[in-house]
Symmetry: C2
Subunit: 251 residues, 2 copies
């Protein structure tokens, strides 16, 4: 058996999320089915992380063992033959046997997209959250700086999580805007459940003036979920890239 | 009754096209149903043009008579309440009684999108046509120049059309590229059936080297459909804007 990392892009709209569920079509299940057809044996994939129902990905990574070698440059197309239109493998990399997409991740980049327009725009709406009001980009960026670093992000975590600690390290959070489309770019080592969607919800309220950008530091310190913004809808979120030390994990 | 122009944006994926058909969900039918609910009377819309099944629009325009006035700035939101997610009115403009979205159009801008990538990308794939090979942007732009002006576009028209003449005037055709996404921007006074999709198919073959950019002038002059490129799929095409002399058509 040989270990391989697969980078996947998917439109999350019609998936119940990455993980196999008994209530619908998952990315993991769809991928395993295609791989099992290609390799004519059962293949289990280890995803770098779950993504929720409706969340998109441009660079989700999974690791798996395959029984024979198909050249790296041909493997994505060979798998994609068996995948539906909303899921594709965009890259394949053979790795050391010990590689694990979940445990070897050095961090991830997510983008939460919000478009500000008096009117809903059907050609953007699938991948971004719509607000009808204007947003203050400078205030959002001022607030965004408070997230960088290692903090207890208890206030930015959906209740009911089973994690041992709510301390996480974010590298940085920046907000970019073009023609009313706001991109909240969040880079960090690891994330709590719904963390990016709650950070985006908090920055949205900073953008409208309901939360003072200077108070975000206090909201983090308070650990009080009720003081942070609401969890924004899944469709605005895209997992853009997962970071690894590729040189080290490949032979 | 008062005449109004409605600018519509729609994701054409799940529509049978603009025009009412007896085999599925049309933009026209969906729009008329919403308007009839809002105004509590039957409303007929006059579209600027049909778009085929699967073609998108960011700026399709329809004209219609309404029985009472809702302020221009509130009308789009009032109609959108009754529209599905993939269709929205983005602007409303009250016009002179004589205004007709089809006959008063001065021209249109379409964009045909092609993405060149070894691998299919699910997050672009809904609105662009995928090719796995590289394209020569300079050759495509050289060829594109041949389309500007008034020509008999018989070679760029689907057979079976019932038009009196196949002479049409194009203002210009330009190709832009960024990160492998090619945008073929076509602006013209009026268009034949499938004309933009055949122009895009021809420029695609210029991009691959199968058609010499210098021969496009001859292909137009030949009037021979078989010498032009194939009709590219609907999903890559978006009607971006319809031009009117707004000052003249409004009171």
């Amino acid at each position: 058996m040989t270990k391989v990392a697969l980078v996947c892009e998917y439109d999350g709209t019609d998936f119940v999320g990455f993980q196999i569920q008994n209530n619908g079509r998952s990315v993991e299940g769809t991928l395993e089915e295609a791989l099992s057809t290609l390799y004519k044996t059962n293949i289990d994939v280890q995803g770098c992380s779950r993504t929720d129902s409706g969340v998109h990905a441009r660079g989700h990574v999974s690791s798996l063992d395959v029984p024979f070698i198909i050249p790296e440059d041909r493997l994505p197309a060979a798998i994609n033959v068996f995948l539906p239109e909303d899921l594709a493998v965009t890259k394949a990399i053979y790795t050391k046997e010990e590689f694990n997409a979940r445990f070897d991740s050095l961090g991830k980049r997510y983008i939460y997209r919000i478009y500000s327009s008096p009117i809903r725009k059907p050609l953007i709406d699938r991948y971004a959250y719509h607000v009808t009001y204007k947003l203050d980009l400078d205030a959002m960026n001022k607030a965004a700086m408070a997230f960088a670093g290692e903090h207890d992000f208890k206030a930015f975590c959906a209740s009911g999580g089973s994690q041992v600690t709510t301390v996480r390290k974010l590298f940085n959070v920046h907000v970019f805007e073009k023609d009313g489309l706001f991109e909240i770019v969040v880079q960090g080592e690891a994330f709590l459940y719904n963390m990016v969607r709650i950070i985006a919800g908090t920055l949205l309220e900073v953008g409208t003036g309901r939360i003072d950008p200077d108070s975000v530091k206090d909201i983090i310190a308070s650990g009080d979920r009720a003081r942070a913004g609401r969890t924004l809808p899944a469709k605005g979120l895209t997992l853009e890239e997962v970071y690894y030390n590729w040189e080290e994990v490949t032979k």
